[in-house]
Structure formats: structure tokens, C-alpha cells
Symmetry: C2
Subunit: 305 residues, 2 copies
Amino acid sequence: MKNALFGGVNAAVLTPMRADLSVDLDRMAAHCRWLLAHGCNGLGVLGTTGEAASLGISERTAVVEGLVARGIPAAKMMPGTGTPALTDTVELTRAAERAGCRGALLLPPFYYKNPSDDGLFAYFSEVVQRVGGEIALYLYNFPQQSAVPFGVALVERLLRAYPGKFRGIKDSSGSYENGLSYVEAFAKDGFEVYAGDDTLLKPLLEKGAAGCITAASNVNCSVGARVYAGWNTPDGEAAHAVLAGTRKAVISVPLISGLKALVARNTGDPAWETIRPPHLKLTAAQKTALFDAFDATGIDLPKAA
Amino acid sequence: MKNALFGGVNAAVLTPMRADLSVDLDRMAAHCRWLLAHGCNGLGVLGTTGEAASLGISERTAVVEGLVARGIPAAKMMPGTGTPALTDTVELTRAAERAGCRGALLLPPFYYKNPSDDGLFAYFSEVVQRVGGEIALYLYNFPQQSAVPFGVALVERLLRAYPGKFRGIKDSSGSYENGLSYVEAFAKDGFEVYAGDDTLLKPLLEKGAAGCITAASNVNCSVGARVYAGWNTPDGEAAHAVLAGTRKAVISVPLISGLKALVARNTGDPAWETIRPPHLKLTAAQKTALFDAFDATGIDLPKAA
């Protein structure tokens, strides 16, 4: 797909923390620079991988503002701004636009289970009208965490009711068929579909997806960029195999903790392992298993400064 | 059970809203006064029924402060202060204590699914240490919404590690056996177990529970109070049957919307039906069915002013 606002590889950026569990914006900005230098076209900050749900509302606004203040281009950021609460979601999305972001990624309201499509339509109608402005809204389909899926019928209804407002979707369902359903229904109209699973980047690009937003991009973005640059070439095929291997390695342990451990190793900075509960650091045995499986993929991980 | 801080009937208080979906504190305070005058010993404001998850963090603090400013006794309130985020949870709990509340009801962090008991223990350890103060913490077991259950082993670990901090649990699992497991393990030490389901008030009181915190108490608290006052008397038996009938009636439609419709009817104030999406008002047909089923229980609902 051409002309996607965030087309290509986007990392669901990890959030480093100090010993007191506060966000470490200096480390985070350095990591964002590394990501942009090694294959990422965009930065999906404050998503599931970024522990956004574990951060307070004011902390989330401070992350976006703090990264911009440290020179990370706001135009490259697609912060997660979805919360269970209408008003907090609107506040975070407006703050993202004020900071210069061109897009925001919105989970559905995820506390109340089994909302109706009418209820979700009413919710996003309120969000659109209250947010106003020009910021592009991306839907975040991740039923394993949110327990609230976005079906094609609901997306279609939102696109019709609010033309130009909903620009794409991140699909973390892990289902090729589900990702494909969005591509087939909407990609021809410029709707950007992002794979939330590295192994689906290549097959969905073949069908017209815009790229990916993945957790593993925190460590494998240089490989993902090779897939994106030439998914229909031998190098793209070879990169896809490595990408799939790294995905398999990182989901063999608790995902966010494992990615933090890999970045800690790559930066030589053990503080990177700090994580907010209910997540926990990997055990030594988990780290060994992860590092072995990750290295066995043959990935050539660019060194962090 | 004697000496429970919130022993007896507690309503999971509804949150009335204006047409712009902001919280209507005057209507809410009037409803709280009606509840306290008609059988409620305590006010579980800002729980699931109170649409707390649909309210922003600053709105939630304003509700507690606003009710106190309107003369609702802080000592009667047990606000819900659990959020997915450690920092917001701490902020809300501290604000509740500052406002004069003696207890707060804490959901587990409910975004990330399948957290380990070690992770939940680490989370609540941080909460306890950061909150400090004297406020009693009540755990909120509601796996149907939070997807994160509190097992007896985890509760026991928290009670041992932080003596005197965790004072009880609200069990909305709907399972008698689950509620009983908390009563049998901890009630002898003064741990207050609250049924989250009206039909379990009587059977759990018989075993040593402290009372209930229920959604339907917004309309049936005068009946619940009769059960509490004499669960082992003929009047308590009769009240239990009516209570169970009203519970069955209100869960035959979307619960929060249905309770708001019943209060709207009882107050003659249709504004009471306003609700934040993803919830929706009942349809006319749903209202008719609900009112018929509710009235068929023979409940003598005290009129609201």
C-alpha cells in the first residue's frame, strides 16, 4: 500500500522504567532513536507492549511530551490512547494531537465485557466528536487482551459515519483470516491494516496491508524492514524466516519481560529489565532459554549505543 | 459477623449523568440519601454498576469529593479505586482516604490477562506500600469482568504479608462455593466477605459473611435490610424470596441500564436513564419487560423524593 501514514515497520515501543517504576524518558528516547535508525518507520508508543495500561493517565501524556522534548519526531509516533473511560481516551488523544502526532491507536473500552456493536459505535462516535481536530484514529483489535473484538461490520459503520477519521487498524488477533478480512474490505480505500504479529507481515503485505506494529520489532525491526522492502524477493523470503523465528523465540517467555531482557542485553544496561507488576522480570533460566532461542535464529542484531 | 466496617447491605451505587454524560452529583447525592434511608448501611460508589471504568481518573476523585461536599458521610462510602494502572490506583485510593473514606474496593489490574499470583502479589504489595495510611483495602473478585480472579491462596499471602491492610473481599463471581471459600478461610479473623449477588446474601450470612455489595441494592435495599436483620426468621426468609426475584428481574436486561430505568421510574426523572457508552439505554420493550418482572415480585419500593 502506498501513502500510508505509518506504512512499513512500527515497533510497539517498550517503556523503560527506573527502580521506582517511574518512566525513564531518557532511556526511552535513546531506544526510539535506535528503532528509527534500524528499520522502524514509526513508533507505536504506549501500546500493550509499552505497558500503557499499567501507566497512569498523566504519566501517559508525559511520555509523549517527554519524547518530543527529547527530539523524537512527533510525526513518527502513534501513541496508544484507548482506555476503558470515554473521557480519559478523549483527553489522551487530544494530548497526542497537541504534541504533534498524526495518529493514535485506540483500544475499545475494555472493562465491560460483551458490549454490543451499537454500544461500541456510540462510544467511538462520542470519541470522534469530542476529539475533533485532524488526528487520524487507528483501531486496535486485540481480543486476547481487550476481550472486545472489532468486526468488519462495525468498522464499516464507523468509516461510513465518520469519513476520513478512522485511518486504519492494528490487528493483533493473530489470525491471518481476520487481518485479511480488513484488507479485503477496506484497503482499496486507503485504510491501513497493520499486522500485530511478525509472521503475518509478509502474507498480509501480499494482499495489500500497510505494514506491521509489533512487539518483537523492538529487537527485530531491521529484519522486518527487509521483509517490507522486498517481500516478493529472495531476501524478503529469507528475512521472513528469521522474523518468524524471532517471534517464536520471544513468545516462548512472558513477552514484554522477554523483550526488556533482550534490550538489556543489547544495551548492556540491566536497568532495562525493570517492569511494572503484574508483570515480572524473567528468571535467569527464562533468560537463558530466550537468549538461546533468539540467537539460534541467526539474527544480526544491530548493537545499541 | 460483628464489627464489620461496612456490615450489612451496601449498594453498588449508580452514577447518574447529565445529557453531556458528565456526572450529576446532585442527583447522585439525593440517591445516596435515599439508599441510606431505606436499608443501606454503606455506599459502594464507583464500582462496576457505578460505571467507574467509564469515568476518567479525575472524574472519579471528583465524585467522592463532591458527595462529601453534599453531605454524604465519607465513612459510609467504599469507593472503587482499582484501575489497570498501579499509579492511578494508588492516587484514587489516597484520594479516598483524604476524603474521609474508611475503605476502598480494589479490582485487580484488569488489562493484562492471566497474570501470575506472584505478579498480583507484587502489584498489591506496591499498592499497599504506596497508599500507606489507615484506609482498609477490600479486594474485588469479579472474574466475569476483570478476567483476573482472586484465589484463596493469593488472599492468604496478602493477609500474612500485610496484616491489617486487607479487610475484606467483595465476591461477584456468582458462586456460592467461591464466596464460602473466603468465609471459611478468613472470616474467623474478622475478614469481611460481601456477596456480590443478592441471592447469596442469606446463604453466606449463615456461614459468617459480613453482608452484601450489590447492584440491585440500588432498588431492593429495603428488602436486603430485612434479610440482614433476620436471615434466620420467617420475615428474613420471605424477604430473601423477594430479593431473589428482583435480582432475577434486573439481570434479565442489561443490568446497569435496567437499574437506571427503575430509578428513573421511581423518581419520575427520565434523566436518570442517561448512561455512558458502550452501555446503552434500554429500549421501550426492554423497559416494559423489566418493570413487569420487577413488579411481579411484589416488592414494596419506597418512593424517592
